[in-house]
Amino acid sequence: MLQYDIVVVGAGGAGMSAALAASRDRHLRVAMLSKVYPTRSHTGAAQGGINAAMGFRDPTDSVEKHFRDTVKGSDFLADQDAVEFFTAGMPDIIRELDYYGVPFSRDEHGRVAQRPFGGASSPRTCYSADKTGHVILHTLFEQCLKNGVEFFEDWMLLSVVVSDGKLDGIVALDIRTGEIHPILARAVVIATGGFGRIYWTRTTNAFNMTGDGTAVCFEAGIPLKDPEFVQFHPTGLARTGILVSEACRGEGGYLLNKHGERFMARYAPEKMELGPRDLVSRAIETEIREGRGFGEGLQAHVLLDLRHLGREKILERLPQVRDLALTFEGVDVIEKPVGIRPSAHYTMGGIHVQDYRTCATPVEGVHAAGECSCISVHGANRLGGNSLAEVVFFGKYAGLGAQETARHRDFGNEKRVVAEAQRWARVFETMRKKTTGHNLFQIRDRMAETMWYNVGIFRTEKDMVKALHTLDELWEMYQDAYIGDSSVRYNQAFVHYVEVGNLLKLAKAVTLGAIARKESRGSHAREDYPHRNDGEFLKHTLVYKEGDRYRLDYLPVRITKYPPEERKY
């Protein structure tokens, strides 16, 4: 039976940072599981940059300002002690990444270059052209290779086994062989990414962003924190939802409606296009709803105009943006504006982390970091450039936390882990042999459609209750789903079956949290409750799953320095 001191699940920025930190202790055996080859992870898609108050570009910038911007951006739902810890530690993380070999763009003094980003009061986003996530992901991979981390690629997490509030082990599928393995571990770090795929078609996320670790922890009794907060990125390409980096706004791009107006003047007169993501997304949707956009229905969009930046600047600073627009929209942004519309981008909520210094969850032995988790440093809305920062920073602290846990914890109950693996083996067998049932893709697409229309950028109780019914109906259909592949070897249909199950559970938690939060805050915009209500809702949502029952609870927000004020840009 496989047995490791620490198992890291997920090989994106958070997972690799965790594995790297944990593997520094040569006495600990560290394994890393990933559904995909490590460099395929979605961290690589982050384009614009990573926030740290280096003060290179603007000497008046400070950790304090980064702290304040993040709290304000979060619409005061972030835990301020965690944010302070995070923003204060970020400059060191950049220097460490530099030392690992990340190819950062540089200023004329040879220092890491920084650029302005939405919601930031100083230009503090460190970057490497528009491939920042990509180069950080590859560099962390290189360092993991150097440290001899054991990779299990094409392995999918199925269960976290817990008894009496303590970790026993995990169960995972080796996708290549079809074998289901019980794995014992003293500590695990869950770093499996977000669940933007609940909106399947209209998302910037990769196909595999199905929130596996989040759903598995949810099932194991760890609550989901603040699941209702989903960020919609303002600049998804019109036809496909593929992300165009925030750098295009950071570098000075204009947003135009069909009258050629820079409409952001109406919504954020000072910051204009550099307003935070939630505000810009709602501004674009409002323009479209009020008939000032182009096109109709799901084809509706506004324009992103970069022409005034000039050919040279576009080629130098935004080459990938140009390439994306060219490939997927057939538009050369040097010559023409490109159609864009918001696209589901990031899930602020996730696995409830209760100790930000170790990223420990309520279950002893289970740590979580990155988009799958909720610490919370993003609160109701994440600032651009803070997610790459979060994955590297908290990935590291989760790795160190797991190291500490592994040193003093023994292995858990082997029998329970084996029994859970056997249960999954029976599920796999049943699904492989099934010859009829509901089409899995149709279940998934209906979930996405209901989430986009009813639990999307603008929300009302009536719509969301409708979505809840649909989700319950889909869950019933899922029980009789048919995958159509009997193969043991590399059965992607079964993998997708597990993914869709995970998404359905998470979509329901998002909807429940959103219905109960009768206010508008950050990314959560209720048309029936258009204002923030600090009296009742300055608190974190916790959703528990107890068998088939979902239960809501709340947790106070930790406010240390900045009392809530109106959020204006």
Binding site: T39, H42, L97, Y99, L145, T240, F328, S487
Partner: protein
């Protein structure tokens, strides 16, 4: 109604076959769109990998009509136009073990990647607590090689790799280059030497990797650089280096190649006599070479030598 026929190579671990799928034509679509459509509407057993949809994760490389491409960014319209056909054949990448259908195994490649120490070996100028200073010019040298998304297209297209499993995949050579030219790296030789030991000089200059690379990385120039560095490292006692040096010397001395002495300089007298003699005799018989006629300097040789002097001076300044 216009349709497109996909002939897809299937593999289930023991058996391999081609399967045909017909889908209605739509304009402005990609190869990945078609593969997904087939899987979701016709055959849920069709197996391939894809993730980001915008050419940054490197998951979805396949061969279409023999050419390796990223499925997500390859336009069907373009393929249909280039190949003048409505039938496309999709096969897995070459030079990889196949797991199932279009899914290939990266594990052996990761093991080979490790040989070039694909990580920064930091100089004393930096530390984990301070980072480094690096000029924008120095950054520019590593900007393009760090575009690599490790999609495997260069491996699939590599003609040398197909014949010689010792040869390192172009993306691995790229990784060696990326650290060798990084101003923060203290030990370029440690990245370059393993490449030399894995037949670096055997690259055929077929340019297939360069023309297919979705990130347009100039792997040819990188390989040329790595070779030059091995010569600077004093690694001149191998056929590749000797061949290059013979070219260099011949052109400087006479402005042209001496085809009689070139193989001797490259492979040594004994090897040339034992292995090239029949070929040489044929060349002599047909009048392609005349061993008695030694090449004399061409007209304008002074100009050529001036170029050599100029390059040497410039290189001196760079070092």
């Amino acid at each position: 109604m216009r349709t497109i026929t996909f002939r897809i190579q299937r593999y289930d671990g023991s058996r391999s076959w081609f399967q045909e799928y017909v889908i209605p034509y739509e304009s402005g679509r990609t190869v990945l769109w078609a593969l997904i459509k087939i899987r979701e509407e016709q055959d849920p057993t069709l197996t391939f990998t894809a993730a980001c949809r915008h050419a940054i994760c490197g998951s979805c490389a396949v061969r279409v009509n023999g050419h390796s491409v990223l499925a997500c960014k390859t336009s069907l319209d373009e393929l249909l136009k280039v190949f003048q056909t409505d039938v496309l054949e999709v096969t897995p990448l070459s030079n990889f073990p196949v797991i199932r259908d279009l899914v290939v195994d990266w594990r052996p490649k990761t093991e080979r990647l490790k040989t070039v120490k694909p990580w920064l070996i930091p100089t004393q100028a930096g530390s984990a607590a301070t980072g480094f200073a690096q000029s924008p010019q120095e950054y520019r040298r590593i900007a393009s090689p760090t575009d690599c998304i490790q999609c495997g297209i260069c491996s699939s297209e590599c003609e040398q790799l197909a014949e010689n499993p010792r040869f390192l995949d172009p993306f691995i050579l790229n990784r060696a280059y990326r650290f060798a030219v990084d101003s923060r790296d203290a030990a370029p030789e440690e990245h370059i030497r393993p490449a030399l030991e894995s037949d670096l000089w055997k690259c055929l200059h077929c340019y297939q990797c360069v023309t297919h690379c979705p990130k347009e990385i100039r792997l040819d120039q990188e390989i040329a650089y790595l070779r030059q560095q091995t010569i600077r490292m004093g690694e001149t006692d191998n056929p590749g280096a000797r061949h290059a040096l013979a070219f260099h010397d011949d052109v400087r001395n006479t402005g042209r190649l001496d085809e009689v002495t070139l193989p001797i300089k490259t492979e040594g007298l004994l090897r040339t006599v034992t292995r090239r003699l029949p070929f040489a005799m044929r060349l002599i018989r047909t009048g392609k070479v005349n061993p008695l006629q030694r090449p004399r300097p061409v007209r304008g040789i002074e100009g050529i030598r001036k170029i050599y002097a100029h390059v040497k001076e410039k290189e001196g300044k760079r070092q």
